[in-house]
């Protein structure tokens, strides 16, 4: 825990018109740690990830990546700095094959995608990175299938494989398990554990079993604000969390 945070926010706030979606949120992500953000729907979790990935600009507050201020940088810059994200709603290239999805993701790390004449498939390193990413999520052998023809669960796997293929140091995963079968979920949870060894992972997830299985740190958000943050045991026993979130979830 002594290690410095790779990604850190300070009083991050985002307003949409009169509505405050995220208010004064300060979180930290460390390499070797899975930091799970939980909370009821509308708590502002996705808005938080959108700000961290540069898809949305914060109304106020700051984001620091390895100590330097990256607040307000566009998403492609954030991505190049080593922050990869997946989307809650599958956001892939549907007509392209699973392999090409990952290949494009891997190619983004190439110094020059402004190459006009060499065939794209001639870059063995990029191909290998794409294959590795597919294998990591359990899609080896499915690479040649257009993503549109894959099952919903497999599309979710492609979504994660694409993030891996960009070889990020920080992973922002927005409900990676949503829509996945139980077998795939187990695989992805194991993958997350393995990735956590040398990545900083920020995870938004509704599957509480999975969250408590992988998370080192938990942050509970309600109505755009941090209710409590700490180790899983601490969160589990917190009366405030029980009341606001976990309790009601159990009741359902």
């Amino acid at each position: 825990m002594a290690e410095a945070a790779v990604l850190r926010t300070r009083e991050l706030t985002r307003r949409f018109g009169g509505l405050v979606a995220v208010k004064d949120v300060s979180v930290e992500c460390r390499t070797g740690e899975v930091h799970a953000v939980i909370g009821p729907n509308g708590a502002g979790k996705t808005t938080l990830i959108n700000m961290l990935s540069g898809d949305l600009h914060p109304s106020s507050g700051s984001i620091f990546l390895e100590g330097s201020d990256v607040t307000g940088l566009p998403s492609h810059r954030i991505s190049r700095l080593g922050v990869g994200r997946s989307y809650q709603k599958t956001n892939v290239f549907l007509p392209l094959t699973a392999f090409e999805n990952c290949r494009l993701a891997a190619q983004s790390r190439l110094a020059g995608s402004m190459r006009f004449f060499r065939p794209a498939l001639a870059d063995r390193e990029v191909n290998a990175a794409a294959e590795r990413a597919l294998a990591a999520v359990g899609l080896d052998g499915r690479g040649s299938v257009p993503v549109a023809e894959l099952s919903h669960g497999e599309q979710r796997q492609v979504e994660i494989a694409m993030v891996l293929a960009t070889r990020p140091r920080v992973l922002l995963l927005d409900e990676p398990l949503a829509g996945m079968g139980s077998e795939e979920s187990v695989r992805i949870v194991a993958l997350l554990r393995k990735l956590a060894a040398d990545h900083a992972v920020l995870l938004v997830e509704h599957d509480m079993d999975a969250v408590f299985a992988v998370a080192d740190v938990l942050t509970v958000m309600v109505n755009g604000m941090v209710l409590e943050s700490g180790a899983p045991a601490q969160i589990r026993s917190s009366p405030a969390v029980q009341e606001a979130y976990l309790g009601s979830e159990d009741a359902v």
Binding site: D55, H76, F93, L110, M114, R115, R118, M162, T166
Partner: protein
């Protein structure tokens, strides 16, 4: 695999047929097919934007016309320009124009992109239409065609319609090959990603603005090849070359043949040109001179095509083939 071989064979047959055409046909047809090939280059260049990158440009004629005007302005009065300098300069002029216009338009998306490309193309149109640069609204003649001398040797003569025909054929094949190369390159794959889901490309770390701008410039430069050839073939340039009727016609060629296929737009160019010719030679009927008012029928044709042909002729052939295969199997 088999279909791939058939496609290559068909391509070669067409190229060979085009290569021997001037031996059998008279001047009218040689010139007509030269014009068709020039339009095919233009349509393929637009396909890179429209079909492969998803950028609906309604101002493509600007880059076609710019190269034509560049040749006209590079040609000294009563003298010939040098082909080997004027050709690259004209294409560079189109590319430069595309860079400047692209810098502004590529920031916009969807319907804005359509309107802005049209507006900038019209700005150029009015620049040549309203001012006295290069003959104003009447255009300007290129009295003497460019000369392609290397030392004392002259490999081809651009005042000979057959030579112009072969130059157009060679440039058509080269343009096609170049586009195929670009499309399978890392850059080409990025364009495909942008067409499908630009937002995800951004989040993967691609600065899509640069790629779209580069694509816009390449497309504009290739349109410039067509524009230069057209100016050489007819020895005249006028503001119509920059006008939106041509931009719309090229769009129709691409749609007719099938977006994102390269070969389709080239076929679309042929269909369009022949249709235009056919409509223009219609007789009068019921007191209306349809030959003179051919655009009435062309307009009706466009309306029907937009309603009935969502993916072009190439897709229609594919649909028919699948249907046949379905019945057979």
């Amino acid at each position: 695999m088999n279909a791939h071989r058939i496609a290559i064979a068909a391509f070669l047959v067409v190229v060979v047929a085009l290569a021997v055409l001037p031996l059998a046909a008279d001047k009218f047809y040689v010139q007509l097919f030269a014009k068709i090939m020039i339009m095919a280059i233009l349509a393929m260049s637009l396909d890179l934007l429209l079909g492969y990158t998803g950028l609906v440009s309604f101002g493509h004629a600007a880059f076609y016309g710019a190269a034509g005007y560049a040749l006209a302005l590079l040609t000294p009065q009563y003298q010939a320009a040098n082909f080997w300098t004027s050709f690259p300069l004209a294409v560079a002029a189109s590319a430069l124009l595309a860079l400047v216009i692209g810098f502004f338009v590529v920031r916009t998306r969807g319907v804005y992109f359509i309107m802005v490309t049209l507006a900038f193309a019209q700005m150029l149109f009015f620049l040549f239409f309203d001012t006295k640069i290069a003959g104003g609204s009447d255009g300007i003649y290129i009295d003497v065609r460019p000369v392609a001398k290397i030392g004392d040797w002259q490999p081809f003569r651009l005042d000979d319609f057959t030579h112009v025909y072969y130059l157009a054929l060679v440039l058509l094949v080269l343009t096609y090959a170049l586009l195929r190369l670009i499309l399978r390159s890392p850059f080409g794959r990025v364009l495909a990603g942008i067409r499908v889901n630009e937002q995800r490309m951004l989040s993967l770390g691609y600065q899509t603005f640069r790629y779209k701008l580069a694509c816009f410039v390449i497309s504009g430069a290739l349109a410039g090849i067509a524009g230069y050839l057209s100016a050489v073939q007819f020895g005249v340039v006028n503001p119509e070359m920059l006008g939106w009727h041509l931009s719309a016609a090229v769009m129709m060629m691409v749609i007719l043949g099938g977006m994102g296929t390269l070969v389709g737009p080239a076929i679309g160019a042929a269909i369009w040109m022949l249709l235009e010719l056919g409509l223009q030679s219609l007789p009068s009927a019921g007191g209306v001179d349809f030959g003179k008012h051919w655009q009435l029928l062309m307009g009706g044709f466009i309306v029907l095509a937009a309603l009935l042909l969502p993916n072009g002729l190439v897709s229609m052939i594919a649909v028919l083939r699948n249907r046949k295969g379905g019945i057979g199997g």
